[in-house]
Symmetry: C2
Subunit: 212 residues, 2 copies
């Protein structure tokens, strides 16, 4: 376990086109498939959750609920693992903790859907991930869960919708890691250039601020 981590991490640094101040977080963060199943101290997990807690949200609704289990919790960890689609179970079982991301579909104070609910879970998840990076931990978020199974497994009431899971732990290379996943973990990170997704006055045309 853990061999080659340093090389992998160096190769996974974002190849920045523009300078960022958050390079140690945004530039260093990546989503491994390989985890080394070391115990994660509860205090570490609390700090990640605390960072998520201070995320902004529309009307400060905080439209998220999380189900968190560490490997040493035993049965709840296995139960949460069982809510992932099969492929995600295959690698996430090495994570030190799993978090289920659940959106609160309706506003607390009025009879209407909250159109920001999924978006705001994303905001909170990014906070959690960057706090993890700051602590030398790795995260891998998944949309690949079985929402029905999660609802049944944790008796999640109507109006609360399981949407994501987050694997949290220590990046590593499990001895039984399939070559395909090892290759993915070793591959450089890749993103579209800004000019392909930041437009200005005309849809599809790069924003003027990209060229000033």
């Amino acid at each position: 376990m853990g061999t080659g981590d340093a090389a992998t991490r160096a190769e996974k640094r974002a190849r920045l086109a523009h300078p960022i101040e958050t390079g140690a977080l945004v530039g260093a963060r990546w989503s491994p498939y390989g985890f080394d199943p070391r115990p994660l101290p509860a205090a570490e997990l609390r700090s990640l959750l605390e960072a998520a807690r201070w995320s902004p949200s529309s009307y400060n609704e905080q439209p998220w609920r999380l189900v968190a289990a560490r490997r040493e919790d035993g049965e709840p960890f296995e139960r949460l693992l069982g809510c992932l689609v099969e492929f995600n179970q295959s690698w996430a079982r090495h994570a030190s903790a799993l978090v289920l991301g659940v959106v609160v579909r309706r506003f607390a104070g009025r009879d209407a859907d909250n159109p920001a609910a999924e978006h705001d879970l994303g905001l909170a998840t990014a906070h959690l991930m960057l706090e993890a990076t700051a602590r030398g931990l790795s995260t891998h978020a998944m949309i690949g869960i079985d929402a029905g199974r999660a609802r049944a497994a944790f008796a999640i009431p109507d109006g609360f919708d399981p949407l994501t899971a987050i694997a949290i732990g220590y990046a590593g290379t499990p001895g039984d890691q399939p070559d395909k996943l090892r290759d993915r973990d070793a591959a450089p990170r890749d993103r579209k250039p800004l000019a392909e997704f930041v437009f200005g006055g005309e849809w599809g045309r790069p924003a003027p601020c990209l060229e000033d």
Copy 2:
């Protein structure tokens, strides 16, 4: 403009229940209604967009498109401002830049909706916001836009759905700021305790990791 910023910023620090390493970002970030309409250098805006660019996304789809306009862009800035609901226009007009957040509803490579699209726009937006905080800039994201007006204003094709807007600039206190918004900007930030939203094996019961 800008009087009282220092006091406000100090009061707005998150009152942490658990230590976080990202305190200078997550702990310092807040969403002002008051902005001082100073010009935002294009290079600063590019750095914010670059941080968003390196956000994770499901299948690395990067299911976001952004429309970005700075105040000095003139007409496109006014056009983007006009896509906000009226209340948001009233304060966001003082921002130095506006960004429209658009989700890509379908997967690029297959004929299916991307269930992570809105969530992943949230991830990218959090990156942008924290990069802004690192640079002494403020952001305020809104779900309160008129999506139909945005689609018409920027000829946004089917399959791309305007969801959010982000005001970016310098926190301040405009001379004409309504008392109600001034009070909101001066109020401490408030969040639910972890025990109210982080559950363990049983829905509604705090996770064991909160108490270890």
